[in-house]
């Protein structure tokens, strides 16, 4: 046997061995979590009995970058108030979601303007988020059929959720893919598809522990048709289950919050 063929043999053994090894790791995969475990957490990621947050939104468009500082209150699943604090020209501009209704507050006019349902898909406050993202009441758990699998992303194992909307669910996407942390199920990345075409990608990072829950403090949305653009949402401060009175979401509450 020449040295050359010896080397070949060695390679072969190594290769077979590695295949064998990888099979053993595969066999040692932890059991998949139940859909309920994963989806309940995803549903309650940013929603709770109540929350209060300060955030910065960077809207990067082809020609301009806009930075907004906002304050947000939520209560339950269907009440939310977002007030722009900076820049000064836009300070006080607000969005109020109360039950099924969505309003913008125009501070110069000191009036509310109702956002018609036909505009739910259009841009929220000039960002890449839509009004629908804000008002959405859909539940990952109730409105989607989910299939969980393990996947290796490089050296780390991640949980992949393949979610298809149930018939009749009020959902604009036909497929959502979530990549999640293997043990505590915080999202890492999500892809939204419409009829087989990628519409947008969101990435989540800067996970911090808030009231015992792991919450990504940075979200980046990249629209698929404008890969150079993006909207970043960065939570500066995030409090869960603080006292947020019902009156916050009334017209008076809104004015009070907007003028602060």
């Amino acid at each position: 046997m020449t040295r050359h063929s010896l080397a070949t043999l060695l390679c072969l053994i190594l290769a077979v061995g590695s295949v064998f090894l990888s099979q053993t790791t595969h066999a040692a995969e932890p059991p998949l979590p139940t859909n309920k475990q994963v989806l309940a957490q995803l549903d309650d990621l940013y929603r709770s009995k109540s929350s209060h947050a300060t955030m910065t939104m960077n809207v990067v468009k082809r020609r301009s970058t806009r930075t907004l500082t906002m304050e947000m209150w939520t209560r339950g699943q269907d009440q939310a108030l977002v007030v722009i604090r900076k820049p000064t020209r836009e300070a006080g501009t607000a969005t109020l979601k109360n039950k099924e209704e969505l309003y913008n507050y125009a501070p110069r006019a000191d009036r509310l303007i109702r956002i018609p349902s036909g505009l739910l898909g259009s841009s929220w406050m000039g960002s890449h988020f839509s009004n629908d993202d804000l008002i959405r009441d859909t539940s990952w758990d109730k409105d989607y059929t989910t299939q969980l699998t393990w996947k290796m992303a490089g050296a780390t194992r991640v949980l992949l959720a393949r979610m298809k909307p149930k018939p009749g669910a009020p959902v604009v996407y036909t497929l959502v893919l979530f990549t999640m942390h293997a043990t505590h199920f915080t999202p890492i990345r999500s892809e939204f598809y419409d009829r087989g075409k990628l519409v947008r990608t969101m990435t989540y990072d800067d996970v911090k522990l808030i009231s015992g829950r792991r919450i990504p403090h940075r979200m980046v949305l990249v629209p698929a048709n404008k890969p150079k653009e993006r909207t970043e949402m960065i939570y500066e401060r995030f409090e869960l289950d603080v006292v947020v009175p019902e009156s916050t979401f009334s017209k008076r509450g809104l004015r009070r919050a907007a003028k602060r």
Partner: protein, 444 residues
């Protein structure tokens, strides 16, 4: 002798025609009706096209517009330009230019707590705009924008009729405008409805709100800039020439001018770069309308062809029938020594006389009817459920005023005269080729 012969020849033809009044009358009448119908139809189509173009251009466009060349390619709100008083003077100095109005175009949400609509907000000079378009005259409720925007009072807005209805607001109601300004920031303001317009132009009636130029510039963060200059010209038919003169005038006034819309990559574009301006006549601003009018003209020529064809067939038929009926008469004429060539000429002369009488009568009838409709208009309400009707978003009054030109009358008259005479060739040929003996004996 020859003159005498010709006279007797014509007299003979006339006599032949008069001998059977019914037959001749029907043939001439057919030609007359065809000619009259042609004159009337052509005059109506001309009136219709004119009304359509004038309707579209006068209500919304103006006949000529000036934009930044890249705005003409794609109307993005940041593609605006400075308009100085001197520039407006230059434009007004061009012959045939009657008025010029600067405009700002913004899109945003307009409404209140209960309802809102995506709206085209048009910032206009309250005094200049009514000189270019009849919009101020189209106010059905309330009033047009005040000549001078009030510095302290509420901002004024004039809404399209259907927009006001959809928002469920009246004169005096408050509406909020909420939009993303040209710099990406969120602008908002409170307006009070001052008037409601009904123009028949759907873009205006359904989704337009007129506000003061300065309010629009503030709302859209336009910093004194303008999107559009709408220009009214004296006449419709030399708009291209006026546009060329405007380009020339602005160029000599130190403006950079382009000859076509400019495609600019927004990534590369420096906002403050001096992008050239572009002057465009209505045919370029509303190419669909222009194509419509062209198509209209083409389909009308098809219609003319069909009318001519029907007329020709009926004349050929009548002439053939009459040649058949008169074969004995022709046979006798040949038998008593009329040469076949003479007979051919006789029959052709008869046809020519018929065609001439018919064409002249038709021209007279058509001209009379069309001039009547040109003067008092043609009532179109029989085709609608009353009220005005709109076509391609352009409102027509119930009456269409016909447009009658010399060619409109001459063309069908001459064509039918020639065609009618040609239609006589075949029967004349058949008459010439008759076998006299057999024909007289009734054996053919």
């Amino acid at each position: 002798m020859a003159g005498n012969l010709r006279t007797s020849f014509l007299a003979m033809a006339a006599r032949n025609l008069l001998r059977n009044g019914w037959r001749s009358g029907l043939t001439a009448g057919g030609i007359a009706v065809s000619v009259a119908m042609m004159v009337w139809t052509v005059a109506m189509m001309a009136g219709f096209s004119g009304t359509m173009v004038r309707g579209a251009t006068s209500v919304e466009l103006g006949q000529v517009q000036v934009h930044r060349a890249d705005y003409a390619e794609k109307a993005r709100p940041e593609r605006s330009f400075e308009v100085s008083a001197a520039m407006l003077k230059t434009i007004e100095g061009v012959p045939e230019v009657q008025a010029v109005s600067p405009r700002v175009h913004l899109w945003g949400l307009l409404g209140n707590e209960r309802r809102s609509q995506v709206t085209r907000l048009v910032g206009v000079d309250a005094v200049r705009e009514p000189k270019v378009t009849p919009v101020a005259g189209a106010v059905t409720l309330g009033a047009w924008l005040s000549a001078k925007p009030s510095k302290t009072g509420p901002h004024e807005v004039v809404l399209g009729k259907d927009l006001a209805r959809k928002l469920n607001v009246k004169v005096g109601s408050e509406v909020v405008a909420f939009l993303q300004a040209t710099d990406g920031s969120l602008g908002n303001d409170l307006f009070v409805v001052r008037g409601v317009v009904e123009t028949g132009n759907q873009l205006i009636d359904r989704s337009t709100a007129f506000i003061h130029l300065e309010d629009a510039r503030y709302l859209g963060v336009l910093d004194g800039r303008t999107h559009e200059l709408a220009i009214k010209t004296a006449r419709l038919d030399n708009v291209n020439l006026v546009a060329a003169q405007l380009t020339q005038a602005l160029r000599s006034d130190q403006h950079k001018m382009a000859s076509a819309p400019l495609k600019v990559d927004p990534d590369e574009q420096d906002l403050n770069a001096a992008v050239p301006l572009l002057v465009q006549p209505w045919s370029e601003l509303a190419p669909d309308l222009f194509k419509m009018v062209e198509l209209n003209d083409k389909s009308t020529s098809l219609l003319y062809f069909v009318i001519y064809l029907i007329a020709i067939l009926s004349i050929v038929n009548t002439q053939r029938m009459s040649a058949w009926e008169r074969r004995r008469e022709f046979g006798v004429m040949l038998a008593i020594g009329l040469s076949p060539a003479r007979l051919f000429r006789l029959v052709l002369t008869e046809t020519f006389l018929l065609a001439l009488a018919g064409a002249l009568l038709g021209a007279a009838m058509g001209t009379a009817l069309a001039s009547w409709h040109a003067a008092v208009g043609f009532d179109m309400s029989m085709f609608t459920d009353g009220g005005s009707f709109s076509y391609m978003g352009i409102a027509f009054n119930e009456r269409i005023f016909f447009k009658l030109r010399a060619t409109t009358i001459l063309e069908p008259t001459l064509v039918m005269l020639v065609v009618g005479t040609l239609a006589g060739i075949w029967p004349a040929w058949k008459a010439m080729r008759l076998e006299p003996a057999a024909t007289i004996a009734g054996r053919s």
